[in-house]
Every structure is written in structure tokens, then in C-alpha cells.
């Protein structure tokens, strides 16, 4: 009984402590991403790599049409707006714009405070994590996500997505989500954890570039960069610094406003950790 009470009180004090610090933990790492939209060709390799790495279910035409697909990493395609409705322009005069969109791992994630059971929370790695076991499927988090990158298991997909022997391909490092829970991009948390354990076993810090997310690793043009924003030597930190984008701000004060770095929906002050670099247009 005393241990029960002790645990409860400890849990409570941890909880209030987290609250006092603005809901943020003391971060050990702050994993972040940089995506160069000028290099992205929209080829979809990252998305398929994500299906392979993260046990994403395919849902088939009917459910895809009902918008119940589970693509954590989706490649959106836009055409330039003046070009689309222009009466004089017979055909497109240049290519499309591609946007790889996945969980932005907001530091002030709107999904986190609204979860009734705290199934989505911030890890000490600075990741926005989803605890499948804790999720009860209220789906409030997905409603509150301006990026619409949270995917709900509307069905059990095990039978249809992985008919035997395809279940042998499932990555044992992460679970196969069951009906009724929310899921989303984890920045390949299994790879992050594996690297952390390896580094710990070898008694060293995690090296920059040691962790590659599945999308980053496969990206044929190397448009994706991933790393620890707190590590000042990391390529990601350098890129954020070079583009004069800082966390915790909803309007960047750049000394050189021509720099390409920007964050999507920065004005919502959700403090995303994916830095996009603008696509370049020949005029």
C-alpha cells in the first residue's frame, strides 16, 4: 500500500513539475529535421520506406477513398496557383511543387494537451510520441492537428495488409497497431532508441549522422536531414542556424530575409521541428 501511494505521489509530483516548466521536460536531445523542397523530386521513396520500416498498413482503394489511409509520410503535390486558373496559359509552364508532410513534432504540440489520457506526450528526446497502449481513441489529437498527420486505425488491418507470409516482414522493433488507436510519424523512434543504446553501451555520446530516419536514408536526392538540434555540431543545428530559424518563435527575425528556411504554420505558434527550405523558381 505504501508503495502504491508512493508511486502515485511521485507520479503526481512529476506531473506537476512538468507543468511548472511549461509542460516541457529537460531535453536530452531535440531531434529535428530539415527538408530541402528544391531537392525533393516527389518520387515517393521516403513514403514507401516508411511503410516498410514502420509496419504501416495498406488499406486498399475503398478505405483510401474514404480517407482512412495510414501514410505517415505523404507527398503532397501542388501546382503554382497563378498557373492553374490562368486563362491564357494552355499548359503548365513549369513543374509542380512537392511537399513531404509528416508529423512535425511540434514543441508546443496542439495534440498533447487535449489527449484525455496523456497518450501523446513529449519524450526527453524532444519527440512528440504516441503511446499506443495508452491510447483510447478519442481522436481529439487528430482534430487539433493543423497538419492532419495523425492517422487513426479505423479497422484492424492485420489480415488484409499482411496476408501470410507477409507478416514475416513486420519490423519487430515496433508494434503493429490495432484497431482503435492513433498513430503517426515517430521520427523512427526505434532507430533513435537503438542508437542511444549502442552509444550508451559504448560509453559515448550519439554521433551526428548516426541516426538516420528511414525516409532520410532512402531519399535518392538526399533532400532530408535529421539530427539533434541541441548538438551544436550537428548538420541539422548548423542548417537551422544558417537559415536563421529558431525554436520557440512564431515569427523569425532574420537578418537576411532571403534565406530559404521556414516552418509551416509557424504563425500558429506550435513550434514545429521540421525546417523546410523553399523551392526555387527560375523566373
Amino acid at each position: 500500500m505504501s508503495s502504491l501511494l508512493g508511486n502515485i505521489f511521485k507520479g503526481w509530483s512529476d506531473y506537476t513539475k512538468g507543468n511548472e516548466e511549461g509542460g516541457h521536460h529537460d531535453y536530452e536531445h531535440m531531434y529535428a529535421m530539415v527538408i530541402d523542397l528544391d531537392m525533393c523530386t516527389g518520387c515517393n521513396a521516403c513514403s514507401t520506406a516508411c511503410y516498410a520500416e514502420n509496419n504501416l498498413a495498406t488499406v486498399g482503394e475503398e478505405y483510401f477513398g474514404a480517407r482512412q489511409a495510414m501514410h505517415w509520410m505523404r507527398i503532397e503535390r501542388y501546382f503554382d496557383e497563378p498557373n492553374v486558373g490562368e486563362a491564357e496559359a494552355d499548359t503548365q509552364s513549369r513543374g509542380a511543387s512537392f511537399l513531404p508532410m509528416m508529423c512535425q513534432h511540434c514543441n508546443a504540440a496542439p495534440c498533447e494537451p487535449v489527449c484525455p489520457v496523456a497518450a501523446t506526450y513529449h519524450t526527453p528526446d524532444g519527440l512528440n510520441a504516441q503511446i499506443y497502449n495508452r491510447c483510447i481513441g478519442s481522436r481529439y489529437c487528430a482534430n487539433n492537428c493543423p497538419f492532419r498527420v495523425r492517422y487513426f486505425n479505423f479497422y484492424d488491418h492485420q489480415e488484409t495488409a499482411w496476408p501470410a507470409p507477409m507478416e514475416q516482414q513486420l519490423n519487430p522493433d515496433i508494434s503493429v497497431r490495432s484497431k482503435g488507436v492513433m498513430e503517426k510519424c515517430t521520427f523512427c523512434i526505434q532507430r533513435t532508441r537503438a542508437a542511444r543504446n549502442t552509444a550508451k553501451n559504448e560509453g559515448r555520446a550519439i554521433r551526428d549522422g548516426e541516426i538516420q530516419t528511414a525516409c532520410q536514408q532512402t531519399c535518392p536526392t538526399s533532400a532530408i536531414l535529421f539530427g539533434d538540434l541541441l548538438d551544436e555540431t550537428s548538420a541539422v543545428h548548423q542548417a537551422w542556424k544558417r537559415h536563421q530559424v529558431q525554436l520557440g518563435k512564431y515569427a523569425q527575425n532574420k537578418t537576411n530575409p532571403e534565406l530559404r528556411g521556414y516552418r509551416i504554420f509557424e504563425e500558429l505558434n506550435v513550434d514545429t521541428k521540421v525546417l523546410y527550405l523553399e523551392r526555387v523558381r527560375e523566373v
Binding site: A66, R67, F147, F152, Y155
Partner: protein
């Protein structure tokens, strides 16, 4: 009693002060017995609707939430809007019982009991929806802060947790309010009951004998709960509104939502009272108690609240329209012109235009017209909730997720089933408990008689020396209970 002329729509007095106390008992107790065919038909319809809901839930449990055609853009739909609708309905009882009790509006007395029952049953209906809409409904109790040695707590920052607390508290309080207010009546039932009812009422009436001490304690308790209930009612719907207002989605993140929701709740509650008022009056022949003048007052109250609701609605539209939040404005424009626009204009018509018909005395005194008008007022209020939830989700911030979605069959089944469940509970209630407060009607009759006759008697005696109506009444009336 045979003279029913004064019960017509020309009636001016809230209640016939000459009703004999005994006949009050007789009338009300009679309503609790011998269900007629209409009752069984209504019960059968309710049970059928409820069974469809059970079937839909089992199906959805086996198949997944996809059965409701929810999708990545529309994670919420009719379940949540119907939840808000039923929470809104629950505010009528509190309004009539508690607020009007505190302001001594005694015309509430014949009708507050069923309104309170409606409160309780609406809450019991509303409570179903947040549970069935969970992806893993078997874990619904995780939202409660129960003791666990893993030290896991719910997330107290989440409006859904506030909902859970608010609704359970409100439900508990309203059940208590209903029950405590019923104790003197249960004693009357006990005294007249036979068979299985006898032990039930004996147990429920808690040994009520009607002595002074009991009345004093009873009055005090009832008043306290009434006082407690009013802020609670306001807070419950404010908290429900925070499910939306606390989010960052355009169309949801609206400052005026709490008062707007409370107004809407009172509105739909009043409309529902009119509906049930007419039904009870018609089926239980409660013409003596549920009179046109009272209905008239309820209608006027409904109109006032409808205007408040309309005003808050327009305030919201105006602040979005003149603001510079483009996504919010898109949602507003899409509501009025997009695929959901028929429902939006339906809501505006039923919610803001239809109430003006209540300005007509002819409407207020015509049961048939009023019955359908009240139904449509509530249809409008249900559409309002749907128009809050769905159009926002169909647009939002990210263009990739723009999507128009129509509810699946399980959603409709559960919306219909919720009316079945509510109807079932209400039908059971009216046959087990007195749906008109006997002791309060007696009080009302007593007070009215005193107020009127004492003044007149004094005047008449003073000026003409002829015995006034009081004296005459004393010779006519045979006494009370």
C-alpha cells in the same frame, strides 16, 4: 371539474385555483397506472430504436470506427454533435427547477418535474456518446483518476477530462435534485400504492411523514441543491464548448463559445419542454395542470433565449467576418455556401426565424402548431451542433485534408437510438414516478387562492359588506389532502 371551458386556449389563469387537492392526487396517481395502447406503441418504438443502436454499436465494435465513415479529416462527427445536443437538452430542467425556483416563478410548479427528469435522462443519453465514439471503448474508464499503483493519471489539461468530471458531477447533482424534490410526492405514492410499488415507494420516500422538521430540512436541502446546480449547469455546457473552443481549429477556436453553448442549451431545453409538455398534457389529460397560460410563458421564455442565441451566433459570424483569420473565414463562407449549406440555412431558419412565430398568440395557444414548431426548433438546434463539428473539420488549415464527409449508417443508427433510449427512460419514468409535482401544485393552488381571494375579500367586505368570494369558496370547497 366537469367544466372544461376554462381549460381552452382562452384561459388566462395559470391554474384553476379551485382544484381540489384530492383531485390533484387522483389525477397524478392515475397517470402512473394502466398504460394504454399508445404507451405501449411508444415504448415499442423506443425499444426498437434502442435495439438498432445496440446492433450498430456491436457492429462498430467488431468492425472498427470506420463503419461510421469517419476519416482522417473527420475524426469527429455525429457522435460528438449529438452528444452536445443531449447535453444541451439537459439544461431545461435546471432552468425550470432551479432558476425559476430561486426567482419564485411559481408557474413552473406543474411542469418542473418532467423537465428535471428530462435533464437526468438527457445526461444519461449524452453520456453514451463520448464512450461509444472511443476507438477502444473498453478502456473508457481510463479518463477517470482512479487509484493505480502505476501512478498513471489522466491528462488534466484535456477538455475531455473536464467533460468527464463536469458531466458526472452534473448527472449526480441532477439525480439528487430530482429525487429530493420528489420525496413528498413519493410519500403520497406510498400511501396510495399497492403491490410491488408499495415497498419501492416506502423505501424511496425515506419515511416522509410531512412533519415540520422534515419540511424545514427538505426546503433547505432543495434550495441548496438548486443553488449548487445553477453554476454547475452553466459550467457543464461551457466545458462542453471548450472541447471546441480550446482547440486551435478555425471555426472552433471561438471566444464566445461558452455563453453561446449555454444559450443554445437552454434554447433546445425549452423547446423540448414544450414538446413534452404538449405530449403529457394530451396523453395524461393534464389540462388542469399543464395549462395554456403556462405554455404561453414557456414559449415567451423560449423566444427570449432564441434571441440571445441568435445574437451570440451573429456576434460570432461578425467577428470572423470582420477579422483577418483567413481559415476561419473560409470555414464560415463554406458553411453558408458549401456542401453543408442546406443544413446551415436549415439551422438558421429553424433556430433564428422560426422562433418569431412564438410572438403570435395564436401559435402560442395552438397545441398542434406549437408541437411541430417545438420539434423543428430542436431540429435546428441539432443541426447547429452538427454545423459546429463537421464543416470545420471539412476545411481547417491543411488543404490536403479538405474533405466533405457524410455520416455512415452506424452514426444515424446511434443518433436515432439515442432518442429511443431517452424515450424508453422517460416512458418508464412517467409510469413509476409522478411526472407532475403534486405537493408543489397544491402549494401553487393554495398560494394563488390566498393571493387573489384575500385581497378581493378585504375590498368587498370593506366597501359593500357583502361576503366575498373567499367566503363563498369556503362554502363550496370541501377541503384538501
Amino acid at each position: 371539474m366537469s367544466d372544461r371551458k376554462h381549460l381552452t386556449r382562452e384561459q388566462t389563469k395559470d391554474i384553476d385555483e379551485n382544484i381540489a387537492w384530492a383531485s390533484i392526487n387522483t389525477d397524478v396517481l392515475r397517470s402512473m397506472e394502466n398504460p394504454r395502447r399508445g404507451y405501449w406503441v411508444a415504448m415499442a418504438v423506443s425499444v426498437c430504436l434502442f435495439s438498432v443502436m445496440i446492433y450498430a454499436e456491436v457492429y462498430q465494435y467488431m468492425y472498427g470506427m470506420g463503419a461510421a465513415l469517419l476519416n482522417t479529416s473527420h475524426m469527429w462527427d455525429l457522435y460528438i454533435s449529438t452528444f452536445v445536443f443531449w447535453i444541451g437538452m439537459s439544461h431545461s430542467g435546471t432552468l425550470l427547477s432551479a432558476i425559476l425556483h430561486l426567482v419564485h416563478a411559481d408557474w413552473r410548479k406543474p411542469i418542473y418535474r418532467f423537465a428535471e427528469a428530462m435533464t437526468t435522462f438527457s445526461l444519461m443519453t449524452a453520456g453514451i456518446f463520448p464512450v461509444i465514439h472511443l476507438g477502444r471503448v473498453w478502456n473508457f474508464y481510463w479518463v477517470m483518476p482512479y487509484m493505480t499503483d502505476r501512478g498513471i493519471w489522466p491528462n488534466f489539461r484535456s477538455p475531455l477530462i473536464w467533460d468527464a468530471f463536469a458531466i458526472t458531477t452534473y448527472l449526480t447533482s441532477s439525480v439528487l435534485f430530482l429525487y429530493i424534490g420528489m420525496i413528498p410526492d413519493l410519500a403520497i405514492c406510498r400511501d396510495n400504492a399497492k403491490g410491488w410499488r408499495k415497498p419501492l415507494y416506502t423505501w424511496l420516500s425515506l419515511g416522509w411523514r410531512g412533519d415540520d422538521r422534515q419540511w424545514r430540512n427538505f426546503r433547505f436541502t432543495y434550495l441548496m441543491i438548486a443553488c449548487f446546480l445553477i453554476p454547475l449547469a452553466v459550467s457543464v455546457h461551457s466545458i462542453v464548448s471548450m472541447d471546441f473552443a480550446m482547440s486551435i481549429m478555425p471555426g472552433w477556436h471561438v471566444t464566445t463559445f461558452p455563453p453561446y453553448f449555454v444559450a443554445g442549451a437552454l434554447y433546445s431545453g425549452c423547446a423540448a419542454i414544450i414538446t413534452l409538455f404538449i405530449l403529457l398534457r394530451y396523453f395524461f389529460k393534464f389540462e388542469h395542470y399543464m395549462t395554456f397560460p403556462i405554455l404561453d410563458k414557456v414559449c415567451k421564455l423560449t423566444f427570449v433565449i432564441a434571441m440571445v442565441w441568435t445574437y451570440l451566433n451573429l456576434v460570432e459570424f461578425a467577428s470572423v467576418w470582420y477579422g483577418h483569420d483567413i481559415p476561419s473565414k473560409e470555414v464560415l463562407i463554406a458553411k453558408a455556401t458549401g456542401p453543408y449549406s442546406p443544413f446551415f440555412w436549415g439551422m438558421m431558419t429553424f433556430g433564428s426565424v422560426l422562433p418569431f412565430s412564438l410572438l403570435s398568440k395564436w401559435v402560442r395557444r395552438n397545441m398542434y402548431v406549437l408541437f411541430f414548431a417545438s420539434i423543428f426548433l430542436n431540429v435546428g438546434m441539432w443541426l447547429e451542433r452538427w454545423m459546429i463539428v463537421t464543416p470545420t473539420l471539412s476545411l481547417g488549415y491543411h488543404p490536403q485534408a479538405f474533405n466533405v464527409m457524410w455520416p455512415g449508417w452506424t452514426e444515424w443508427a446511434m443518433v436515432g437510438g439515442s432518442f429511443g433510449w431517452f424515450g424508453m427512460l422517460f416512458l418508464i419514468f412517467v409510469k413509476v414516478f409522478p411526472c407532475v409535482s403534486m405537493y408543489e401544485v397544491k402549494e401553487m393552488v393554495f398560494h394563488r387562492k390566498r393571493t387573489i381571494y384575500e385581497d378581493v375579500d378585504e375590498m368587498m367586505t370593506l366597501h359593500s359588506g357583502v361576503p366575498g368570494p373567499k367566503a363563498q369558496a369556503q362554502t363550496q370547497t370541501s377541503g384538501g389532502a
